[in-house]
């Protein structure tokens, strides 16, 4: 029995090694390490929002090399068949794939999205939204713009309002967040000075624990800032990825070399 179990284990191990397709751990799977933490977070938030509102799933994969596969089309299909991105039966999945060594990028479109994003459109997204950044070596921004564009198209076609973020550049959001953050800090500062002045007048010392009682959220570390991430400001996790749904692919999409 023990031997059988061991044999089974070896078999499982062997079969996973033989499998050349990497697994997924979220919407964005950056094995080639091209995407910044900040972009990853905002991409995952947008992907999450798209899934919640439309059921469509957007996945991202970057790998250093796609070997032993020789064409991005075959590699993309193998990934699609393994990951099964998209809602089951509706097949609304889409995967953006990049392989660094072979310098290929592909958008793999599931059956259910072929009507919304046909091959020509997929090609245009790569050409217009991703390639300009890729040429400058900014892969992270290229992926961000590509994913936002796809989210925007899906949102429009399915008649749902997505967060404005998909339309504006991250930098704009960032500036906005910075402004909000500074106002927040300034407010705390003013309040503290006021209280200290008050304290001087009444003769009470006002240091130490006062900070925590004034702003309970701050006292608990990240708690007070949690609200930011939902508006796209912070880097506090995209959270709540529930796995891909079982969508089918038939080889639609477009590929480019860069």
């Amino acid at each position: 029995m023990k031997k059988l179990f061991l044999l089974l284990l070896i078999f499982i191990a062997a079969s996973t090694f033989a499998d050349d397709i990497p697994g997924y751990s979220g919407y964005v799977n950056d094995y080639a390490q091209l995407i910044t933490e900040k972009d990853k977070t905002s991409m995952e938030e947008v992907a999450k929002e798209v899934e919640e509102k439309t059921g469509a799933q957007i996945a991202v994969l970057t790998v250093k090399s796609m070997s032993p596969y020789t064409s991005i089309d075959q590699f993309g299909m193998a990934v699609a068949e393994k990951w099964k991105v998209g809602e089951k039966d509706k097949d609304t999945g889409i995967i953006i794939i990049l392989t660094m060594e072979e310098r290929q990028v592909r958008i793999e479109v599931g059956y259910g999205l072929e009507g919304i994003i046909n091959d020509a459109k997929a090609g245009r997204i790569i050409d217009n939204n991703m390639m300009p950044y890729f040429r400058g070596g900014d892969f992270s921004a290229g992926f961000r713009r590509g994913l936002f564009k796809i989210a925007d198209i899906i949102g429009n076609e399915m008649n749902v309002e997505l967060d404005e973020r998909t339309k504006m550049d991250n930098n704009v959001t960032e500036t906005l967040c910075m402004v909000i953050f500074f106002i927040f800090i300034a407010y705390i500062f003013v309040m503290m000075i006021r209280r200290m002045n008050n304290a001087k007048r009444t003769g009470r010392r006002y240091y130490g624990s006062s900070f925590g009682t004034m702003y309970p959220g701050y006292g608990h570390g990240r708690g007070g800032f949690g609200g930011f991430s939902s508006r796209g400001c912070g880097g506090f996790g995209g959270g709540g990825f529930g796995g891909f749904g079982g969508g089918g692919f038939g080889g639609g999409g477009a590929s480019r070399g860069f």
Binding site: M77, D119, G123, G251, G252
Partner: protein, 188 residues
């Protein structure tokens, strides 16, 4: 003595029931496999048709820039009509191969006409063509896989007996020439 006779009858009945059950289930699985090859084949057919539908548009776009390359246009038209007339798997595969080389030459023309290459309509058509070709290759793989399963099942004993009774025959693979892809990769 009487009991023994009853036992024998019971055993015979049980054996017959088991064989009968096996026969039915094998038969059903063969029918399912047969259906699978038909449905996967339908997908290839679909995509071949889709590609044929794209071609007039593509040819017209290229003609706008390279009128005099009539040889190439004729080749494409010929391959298209051949494919339209094909009925069996082999004929379609033949037509596909001929179309592949005709399209390869058509797209090679584009290399000599920079204006055509940068025409957005042409680029869109090229993407559609590449996508369709990729769909054909995906459908082809699925079809060939289902044919392989089917062919194995009807050849291997004991399911071969059932297949023989039902008159199932080996199905053909959709085989295509190993030549270069018709659609060149778009490079930047």
């Amino acid at each position: 003595m009487k009991n023994k006779g009853l036992m024998i009858v019971l055993i015979i009945v049980a054996v017959v029931a088991i064989i009968f059950g096996w026969y039915i289930s094998t038969r059903n699985s063969l029918v399912t496999l047969d259906e699978q090859t038909s449905s996967t084949w339908a997908e290839i057919d679909n995509q071949l048709q889709r590609r044929s539908d794209l071609i007039p548009n593509l040819v017209n776009t290229v003609k706008g820039y390279a009128k005099h390359e009539s040889d190439v246009f004729n080749n494409v038209a010929e391959a298209r009509s051949k494919l339209a007339g094909a009925t069996t798997v082999e004929e379609k595969a033949d037509g596909y191969n001929q179309m592949q080389s005709a399209l390869g030459r058509l797209l090679a023309i584009a290399e000599n006409y920079p204006e055509l290459k940068s025409n957005t309509n042409f680029q869109a058509l090229q993407d559609e063509l590449a996508g369709t070709e990729n769909r054909i290759s995906v459908a082809r793989k699925r079809y060939n896989d289902s044919v392989r399963t089917f062919n194995t099942k009807i050849k291997v004993f004991p399911s071969s007996i059932v297949a023989g009774n039902m008159g199932f025959e080996k199905k053909s693979y959709f085989e295509i020439a190993d030549s270069a892809r018709a659609v060149p990769q778009v490079q930047f």
